[in-house]
């Protein structure tokens, strides 16, 4: 039964990523694009965790953790750049 649920989850996350990609390309403002990339990082974490369940290995956990940290850091860095014109003042 978990296989069916996993397939459903994969489809949901893939559709979500496509929607984020649309917002990334079409987004009228810079902030829209930053938000789209941030959401894509969250969806990528979900995809990695689901794949880890499917393969029954905990190896993908570290990748998911790295995605979580670098997604946050890159979003903050870009917003800081827009706000202050510099990242590390």
């Amino acid at each position: 039964m978990i296989e069916y649920a996993l397939n459903f989850g994969f489809v949901c996350v893939a559709l979500a990523l496509l929607m984020n990609l649309y917002r990334l390309t079409a987004g009228p403002t810079t902030a829209d694009r930053v938000l789209a990339v941030d959401t894509m990082a969250i969806n990528a974490i979900a995809l990695l965790v689901l794949y880890g369940i499917g393969q029954a290995t905990a190896m993908y956990f570290e990748g998911a953790l790295l995605f979580a940290m670098f997604g946050f850091v890159s979003t903050v860095a870009y917003c800081k750049f827009v706000l202050r014109g510099d990242i590390i003042e």
């Binding site: 403002t29 941030d38 974490i45 689901l50 998911a64 903050v76 917003c79």
Partner: protein, 134 residues
């Protein structure tokens, strides 16, 4: 693996996937950035939490010992989602919102934080650099 554990894990995966889908659907449905900000920061966070709890249960039942690895990601996302939302809103307001027309008066000596220069009235940060150089 017992049936009811499989059922719980499957339900958590399905609910998490649906929340992630709804969160990203809000991004193309809502028409402006500030309402659009609500969808991914709230719905996607809950969806990811569901998927991570499913993963935690799965490895607990399969390996036989309980780990809280996945709670680390959940905690990190729950802590960082409000910060990113705040920063994205500030960046959007700085670029696209006119503080004189679109915002109500702040009713204080200072204006709204995003639009004010750092420091008190008449403070020019460039003078500090000049003093350091000489």
């Amino acid at each position: 693996m017992p049936f009811f554990v499989e059922l719980i894990i499957s339900l958590l995966i399905v609910i998490g996937g649906l929340f992630l889908l709804v969160g990203s659907f809000g991004m193309i449905k809502l028409k402006d950035l500030l309402p659009r900000l609500h969808a991914p920061t709230k719905a996607s966070t809950v969806g990811l939490g569901g998927v991570l709890i499913a993963s935690m249960l799965f490895f607990w039942v399969e390996r036989g010992h309980f780990t809280i690895h996945e709670l680390l990601i959940t905690l990190f996302i729950f802590l960082t989602a409000p910060i990113t939302a705040n920063l994205i809103a500030k960046a959007y307001m700085l670029l696209n919102v006119d503080p004189n027309k679109d915002l109500p008066p702040s009713k204080q000596d200072e204006g709204w934080a995003t639009f004010d220069p750092v420091g008190p009235e008449g403070y020019d940060p460039s003078e500090e650099y000049k003093e350091k150089e000489t």
